[in-house]
């Protein structure tokens, strides 16, 4: 990885708000993430974890501070930044009859990269196929997404963001619908991605399937980061619990 010390994600005293909210939801958050870091974000419901990911992805108005991802200011140039950001969202509810297949949805992840007025290439399809295979979706590749189970849909969204070849990967509770075996598989996959130099940030309440590597733990509470430290995978659960109780 070139420039191993450069921050891929850089938040500087950031305050973000939702349109129409009275107070900023994220308050005074500063964060520096380097290539290849594996970050677990914990904290109680409503703490602002999803909001933090949305802020990094440039999807929310930033009222103060700066957010830079891969050298792009996400506030002024969000579209360019998002072509490099993989982001698996927490809440998706697809209509059971939505007329899109697994393959189409996975390919969609690359649409921004492909650019205006262009069709997908053989290379794009290669990435789609390998992402689909990696998540064990090969047999349901041509099925309609709305008719899959919640866990299968979650895997499709993960595949979509892998096919995108992101330079930063954000996942909001990616394990919530997955069975135990799949959790471990996905977790190993994410570990490989991080080892390849791409920072992986996951919001999770499940700490049993973390990969065996150094993990940076962030705990959020009331829109602030109250804990930010390196840890072994086995100690993450305890760290999050004690930090949340103490706060």
């Amino acid at each position: 990885m070139t420039g191993g010390a450069k921050d891929v994600i850089l938040l500087n005293q950031v305050y973000t708000t939702y349109e129409g909210a009275d107070l900023p939801v994220i308050q005074d958050v500063s964060l520096h993430i380097k290539p290849g870091e594996f970050v677990v974000i914990g904290g109680p419901n409503g703490a602002g974890k999803t909001t933090l990911l949305e802020t990094i992805a440039g999807l929310l108005p930033v009222v103060n501070g700066s957010v830079t991802v891969c050298g792009h200011d996400v506030v002024s140039d969000g579209c360019t930044a998002r072509k490099k950001i993989g982001y698996v969202i927490q809440n998706f509810d697809f209509h059971p009859f939505t007329p899109f297949t697994v393959e189409e949805v996975v390919l969609m992840g690359r649409y921004g990269k492909i650019g205006w007025l262009k069709r997908h290439s053989g290379y794009d399809m290669e990435k789609v196929t390998s992402a689909i295979d990696n998540l064990g979706l090969t047999l349901i590749r041509h099925n309609q997404i709305g008719k899959l189970s919640g866990g299968q849909q979650q895997k499709v969204l993960i595949a979509q963001n892998l096919a995108k070849e992101p330079e930063v990967l954000l996942l909001d509770e990616p394990f919530s619908n997955l069975d135990m075996v799949t959790r471990e598989e996905v977790s190993n996959l994410l570990c490989e991605i991080a080892d390849g130099g791409i920072p992986v940030l996951i919001v999770s309440h499940a700490f049993d399937a973390l990969p065996n590597r150094t993990i940076r733990v962030l705990v959020m509470q009331n829109g602030k980061i109250i804990l930010n430290q390196q840890s072994d995978p086995s100690k993450v659960g305890n760290l999050v619990r004690t930090a949340s109780v103490a706060a």
């Binding site: 999807l59 007329p99 899109f100 069709r119």
Partner: protein, 276 residues
């Protein structure tokens, strides 16, 4: 355009109008039904209705006034649905009521002058006495819709699937979304004098609703919906004119019959029964 096929001038114009109106509307119907913004149909038709009645009241020609107000509303549509932070459909509902009120207000003011009746004709449309220019306008907007769909197919389908996910993919959602709302609005404004505001609604929803019963990808819907719409509409125009029946209502009723039929035979509604 089709004179070489259909020597009867009235019939020829009617067929051309129905062909383009149904093709353009059916393509849009796929977007409208999948994005759950079907109220854009009646909102826009009432914007045209309001425009027509305001125009009539102040002594302007009805159709240009209707188109003018519709285009104005078309420009407002996107930003308005953003600002209000509600479902686009809710904003449209409010707008629909407002337009209806404006229309009725001015028609009431014109009671006794006969001009109100002229404006009401926008609700029913007329395929018999069309100007050449109206047909050209219809052809133009339909071509524009096709070009827009082909050029931005990726972006449009991603937005139809899930706006947030499209945005995360790095797509500029807003200009495309506004573009979709704008094209729908223009199509409605131009089709209204022909098929009428009330019946236009059928064109903007039913073709996709029928296609939806048989298609499981959006690509197929984009092909099947226009085919169904063109066949029914052109047949409706020919039969209506040959047997002196009102073309718009006749076609609309046939559409609904097809919809009922398609639901009855849809593979999507198939349920496997077990004998106990």
């Amino acid at each position: 355009m089709l004179e070489f096929l259909i020597p009867n001038n009235v019939l020829c114009h009617a067929v051309e109008a129905m062909l383009f109106a149904s093709l353009g509307c059916a393509l849009l119907s796929v977007l409208i039904t999948q994005m759950n913004i079907s109220s854009i149909g009646f909102t826009m038709s009432h914007a045209a209705f309001a425009g027509g009645s305001v125009g009539a009241f102040f002594g302007f020609a009805i159709i240009p006034s209707a188109i003018f107000i519709s285009i104005l509303t078309a420009f407002l549509m996107g930003p308005l649905s953003d600002r209000t932070r509600m479902h686009t459909d809710t904003t449209l509902g409010v707008l629909f009521g407002t337009m209806m009120a404006v229309a009725i207000f001015f028609i009431a003011l014109m009671q006794g002058t006969g001009k109100g009746f002229e404006a009401s004709s926008l609700l029913y449309g007329n395929v018999i006495s069309l100007y050449r220019e109206e047909i050209y306008a219809l052809a133009l907007i339909t071509i524009l819709i096709i070009v827009f769909l082909i050029a931005f197919y990726k972006e449009i389908t991603a937005i139809v699937f899930h706006k947030r996910i499209a945005e995360i993919a790095g797509i500029k959602v807003r200009p495309i979304y506004y573009g979709i709302l704008f094209l729908i609005s223009i199509m409605v404004a131009i089709s209204i004098p022909i098929v009428g505001g009330l019946l236009l609604y059928v064109w903007l929803v039913t073709p996709a609703a029928i296609a939806y019963q048989f298609c499981n990808t959006i690509k197929r819907m984009f092909i099947m919906a226009p085919l169904i719409a063109i066949i029914i509409s052109v047949t409706g125009a020919v039969c209506g004119i040959m047997y002196s029946l009102p073309v718009g209502p006749l076609t609309a009723v046939v559409f609904s019959a097809f919809f009922v039929g398609s639901v009855a035979f849809s593979p999507k509604r198939k349920v496997i029964f077990h004998k106990h």
